[in-house]
Structures are given as C-alpha cells and as structure tokens.
C-alpha cells in the first residue's frame, strides 16, 4: 500500500501514528477501533505483516507538541489507553508486536517502507511472542510486616556513630546537636545508660534496625516468590517499583514483575501465584493480564527461564 491519501487534513499538517505490527491479521478484527485522538485505525499491509496506524495532527503529535504533551499526565493517559486498546484488540485476533508509544511517520507510504525494511525483525519478534501473553505480578507488604515489630531488639548493633553524626560523613558539624540539655523545661531523670537524649537515640536506632531487618526479610520473600513464578514462565522481567501516588496503593510494593507465558502455562501460573499469596502472611499478590507482550520485545533484556527440556 503506497501513497494512501490521508483523510482529515492536508499531508503537511498530519502524520501517521504506528501502534504495532500484526501477522496474518484479519482487518475485520479491528472493527471500528478508535486510536489516539479518536481517529479510526487502519491497516497498512506488506506481505503477511499489517501495521496498525491512524492519522494524527502534527499540532498535537509533532515533535515540539509531543515533547510538551508527554509530560502532561492527562494527555499521556489518554494516549496510552488508546494505544493499548488498539494493540490489545489486534493481539486478541493475531500475534501483534506493539511498538513504543509515540512512534510517528510522515505518511502510510513511509510505514509501508519501514514494514518492508524491518520485516525480518518483526517476523523474529512475532515468532517469539506468538501464542504467548504477558502477565504482571505485583507484591505488597502490609505496613505491619514492614515495621518489624516482631523482631527482637538485640539484633547486632551498628557501630556507634557518636550520636547525630552526619551520615554522609561530611565535615560540617550539626548546628543543633541531638544530645545535650533540652532548651526548655527540666530534663527528666537520666536513665542508667546515659542522658535522655542517649536513650532516645538508642530507641530510634533499635527501631531503625528493626525496620531495616524487616525490609530485608520482605525483600527475600519477594525474591522467593519471583523465582518460583519465573520457573513457571517462558521469560520474566522486572519493572521498577511503582510510585504509590500513581498506583494509589497503600503498603510497600516489593515486587513488580512481568512474566511471559505460553497459553498452556497460564492456569498453572495463576495457581502458583494464588498459593504463594496464601502461604505468605503480610504479603499481598496482585495479578494483571493477559497483556500484549510489551515487556518482552527487547529479548536481550528479558531473563529467559529454563528450557522445558531442562527440567
């Protein structure tokens, strides 16, 4: 397909947004799918590959506009959801390789050129993801597990730091020492181990140690869960922990990973996840999916699991 006239405006004010590339996609599967900015989605086909595209206005998707828009959370959300909806719909009908958000071409002819030039690469990617889907697993530790209240006070102490020393090792002394007489009121009677400041510091240190120990324990549990899940997947990949302001989730996220599963692995994987969640008190597992395999496109960065034959 070459030089398709672009509907909705002269070519110099519009561009073409690419969502992904599918193999053997029946165009009817797209139905009346709407893409970013509500524009209808169409296919640009070259051989067995179909690029999913829609027309966008350069006023919104040109370089300068994109630069600003990508930092606008509302815009980013609308674009991300539209991008995902198109990819997801295609992925339910045929193997589909999503492309990175905001990949823009001049026109359909350029998309056809790219399909021809990159056909081999897309074919490789599609071979890898055919018949597979991505599942996300997040683990949260509840606040109690993170406080470490059950950890005894007598775990090994850090070397004494002299009370209020700069943790960064800087030379500048504190303007206000944490020890010493309080500025107002009579100081309570000192305990046997030293002044009230010392007791306070000791308590804080113990609390800090308990929390560090609790964090370490919880981290180990997350590693164990991940290892178990990865054993039931074709490949796995860690995402960075999510900002609670974006997730709106209380509790500390201790695992945020994606797993690539063969269709026949899905039921077993979900059962293993459920069992792990029931086994670990204070840890909640959350599963999302199936996703188009966004996280497994860059095969070098994913961790392949053992080959089935190795087991």
């Amino acid at each position: 397909m070459t030089g398709t006239p672009i509907a909705g405006g002269p070519a110099d004010t519009t561009a073409v947004y690419l969502y992904g590339v599918a193999r053997h996609l029946d165009p009817a599967a797209l139905g009346d799918a709407a893409g970013v900015a509500g524009a209808p989605v169409r296919g640009v086909t070259a051989g067995e590959l179909t690029a999913l595209v829609s027309t966008v206005a350069l006023a919104e998707y040109g370089e300068a506009a994109l630069r600003a828009n990508l930092e606008d959370l509302e815009w980013l959300e609308a674009t991300a959801r539209a991008h995902h909806d198109v990819v997801d719909r295609a992925a339910h009908a045929a193997p589909t390789a999503p492309v990175r958000i905001a990949t823009i071409y001049r026109d359909d002819a350029r998309v056809a050129e790219v399909l021809a030039a990159q056909g081999e690469r897309f074919t490789e990617i599609l071979d890898l993801i055919s018949g597979r889907s991505e599942w996300g697993v997040k683990a949260y530790a509840d606040p109690e597990a993170m406080r470490g209240d059950d950890i005894p006070d007598d775990i090994p102490a850090d070397p004494p730091d002299g009370g209020g020393a700069d943790p960064g090792g800087g030379l500048a002394p504190r303007a206000e020492p944490l020890t010493g007489p309080q500025p107002t009121g009579p100081a309570p009677a000192p305990s046997s181990g030293g002044g009230v400041g010392t007791a306070y510091l000791r308590r804080r240190q113990q609390e800090r140690r308990r929390r560090a120990e609790a964090g370490r324990r919880v981290g180990e549990q997350a590693d164990t869960v991940h290892a178990e899940l990865a054993d039931h997947a074709v490949a796995s990949r860690h995402h960075p922990p999510q900002d609670p302001r974006l997730s709106g989730r209380a509790g500390t996220q201790i695992l945020n990973a994606a797993y690539l599963l063969d269709e026949e692995q899905v039921a077993g994987f979900l059962a293993v996840t459920r069992a792990a969640g029931e086994r670990l008190p204070g840890i909640e597992l959350e599963v999302t999916g199936p996703w188009p395999p966004y996280s497994f496109i860059d095969t070098a960065a994913a961790t392949p699991a053992r080959e089935p034959g190795d087991m």
């Binding site: 370089e63 959801r81 990949t103 900002d243 997730s247």
Partner: protein
C-alpha cells in the same frame, strides 16, 4: 475519546490501572526510528516524563524518616 472497546471474553472487566499501563508502554514495545526526531529520542523523553511522574518507592525500605 473514551471508547470502550470489546476485548473479547477473557479480558478483565476492571479498568486497567494507568500505572501498570505506563510500566509497559513507556519502557516496552518495539523501538524503531520514526520520521520525527522525537521517536528516536523517545527513550530520553520517556525518562523525562517518568522523572516527573514516578519516583522509586525503594526509599521506603530505608529508614528515611530518621533523616533530619
């Protein structure tokens, strides 16, 4: 536009969390050069927008409230 697409029978009914979507869309997918510079420099832009939106919660594992 908030078109609700028919995902077929096996898709979860609840709305996908934006944060899960961004994990995948900003860092996943095939990276190919588009015609606009932005697509090539897209990775950097993603980092910029991520910096604005997302900070790691790893700090919460540390006793940061003890910091002055």
């Amino acid at each position: 536009m908030t078109a609700v697409l028919d995902h077929g029978g096996d898709a979860p009914l609840e709305r996908i969390a934006l944060v899960d979507l961004l994990d995948r869309l900003l860092a996943g997918g095939v990276v190919i050069a588009g015609d606009l510079v932005i697509s090539i420099a897209g990775v950097d832009l993603v980092q910029v927008s991520l910096r604005a939106l997302i900070t790691t919660v790893r700090d919460e594992l540390l006793p940061e409230e003890d910091r002055p």
